[in-house]
């Protein structure tokens, strides 16, 4: 296996207080030794069934990526195209879910980050807030930034009528050593604002990536991650649901490619 992925979602204090479920959702799969997909979604707190929306969205992303890889040889895969198509699949799944539940599409409102990674290359499709940080041999950098919004709690969800206007697709990002994605519950911990937007906050991102790179590939890693997301430092920074997922290339060790 050439990747390891550790991810977890924890319910936020405000959701416990208001008796609402965790509206974040996370799904990921290492579909082949050289190919992985990760989906992260944050259901809007102000709509009724956003937890169902976020779960439907992430599952659709993974399902689509699996089907796509089964139908296409690796040398024909264009990662940004696949990333974009996972979003279309998620949108379709949300429309179908709304029909099945006999509710408005907007009642399923959620953000969505879809990451497809093939060997050391990745692409991200993204709508709403949350972010993806990647690291190569030399630096941490933003692979996909939160959608632009003046206000901290207002986002454009994938359920919006004009959702494609807010959809961002990254180019292919090469030589990725490891990466992390998170919902906005972690955003104010992990990102620092700059004049032009934002940048990874190294004293948060680097220890997290290093920690999971060094960790054993066992079930404890996810429990550790859940404990981290529920820790005092993160709870005090945000009372929202929190999702964090880390993908590490296992074929990479001390700057040496193994395969």
């Amino acid at each position: 296996m050439s990747f390891s992925i550790r991810g977890a979602s924890v319910v936020g204090a405000s959701h416990v207080k208001n008796n609402t479920p965790c509206q974040d959702a996370l799904a990921y799969k290492i579909i082949a030794p050289f190919f992985a997909v990760i989906a992260v979604s944050d259901g809007l707190g102000t709509v009724e069934k956003s937890d169902l929306g976020s779960h439907a969205a992430v599952q659709a992303v993974v399902r689509f990526a699996e089907d796509y890889l089964a139908a296409h040889p690796p040398d024909q895969i264009d990662l940004p195209t696949v990333a974009k198509q996972t979003m279309l699949a998620a949108r379709t799944a949300l429309v179908e879910t709304a029909l099945a539940l006999q509710c408005d599409l907007k009642d399923l409102g959620c953000t969505l980050i879809s990451i497809v990674m093939m060997r050391d290359s990745m692409a991200v499709a993204h709508i709403g807030d949350g972010a993806v940080i990647a690291r190569n041999d030399t630096a941490l950098f933003i692979a996909s930034a939160p959608g632009e919004s003046e206000y901290t709690n207002e986002v454009d969800p994938i359920t919006a009528n004009n959702w494609q206007a807010f959809l961002r697709i990254s180019p292919v990002i090469n030589e990725v050593r490891d990466a992390m994605a998170f919902t906005d519950g972690c955003q104010r911990a992990a990102l620092r604002k700059t004049k032009d937007g934002c940048e990874p906050f190294e004293p948060f991102c680097r220890p997290v990536l290093d920690y999971f790179r060094a960790s054993d590939n066992d079930g404890n890693a996810i429990a550790q991650l859940e404990n981290f997301l529920s820790s005092k430092k993160l709870r005090e920074n945000s009372d929202d649901d929190k999702t964090l997922v880390v993908i590490t290339r296992e074929d990479y060790s001390d700057g040496q490619e193994i395969f």
Partner: protein, 232 residues
């Protein structure tokens, strides 16, 4: 995983609280002295303060300013945490400089947002919450540049999401004029007689919800049916 606790290894990029700016714009013109309205308004401020302080999150995030308007516009409390707001006993006298008051509130919001940006503070969409029982005496519908300036500032500000503007009409407010002033998507809400306390409780609950919510277009607020005549 023979490592020390990850929590101890990281630092937080933005440890400060997000801010939620609210300007209360209160009519203290002469007519408010009738039927005990001004004392109910004063009591309402205390209720609002106490309710916000009961909610840990809203208490940490709401950034409150209070402006009164009669013959003059007065900033009786500039932006601060609610715990630092000492509700005054209001008195009512004079005319209704509503146009100037609205422009003052908008200017204060712009300035506060600038400060947030300069200090890197994340913030919610600010609220301007106006309570009046009259009609503006410093401008008239369709007459003069001030009317045009106020109306376009409110309507554009709302449409461009610079702030959310709420108008509460206390009897015998001029609903027709207030309807022209308020944003088209949020008409003025007529206060049921004597329901100031319930209105301020709704306002504090709404601020608590804003302070803990994530939304697409519109935050779902509690129903104002307990204090507003929503059938109008």
């Amino acid at each position: 995983m023979a490592q020390k606790n990850l929590e101890d290894m990281i630092e937080i990029a933005n440890p400060e609280q997000m801010h939620n700016a609210v300007v209360l714009l209160l009519d203290t013109s002469g007519s408010m002295s009738e039927a005990g309205k001004i004392s109910e308004l004063s009591e309402g401020l205390t209720i609002f303060r106490n309710d916000i302080l009961k909610d840990e999150l809203a208490s940490a995030r709401v950034d409150l300013a209070v402006v009164t308007f009669d013959d003059e516009v007065r900033v009786i409390h500039d932006f601060s945490a609610v715990k630092d707001f000492d509700p005054p006993v209001l008195t009512a006298d004079g005319h209704t400089c509503m146009g100037d008051a609205i422009m003052k509130a908008i200017e204060m919001i712009d300035e506060r947002k600038k400060q947030y940006k300069e200090t890197g503070v994340d913030y919610y969409r600010p609220w301007i919450f106006m309570i009046t029982d009259g009609q503006p005496t410093d401008m008239s519908p369709g007459k003069g540049p001030k009317w045009d300036e106020v109306i376009s500032s409110v309507h554009e500000g709302e449409a461009k999401k610079k702030f959310s503007f709420y108008a509460v009409a206390v009897d015998p407010a001029d609903m027709a004029t207030l309807t022209m002033i308020a944003p088209p998507n949020r008409p003025p809400m007529p206060l049921k007689a004597g329901r100031f306390a319930a209105m301020f409780q709704w306002l504090s609950k709404s601020q608590a919800r804003v302070s803990s919510s994530k939304s697409g277009e519109q935050i779902a607020l509690p129903s104002p049916a307990g204090w507003a005549d929503v059938s109008t």
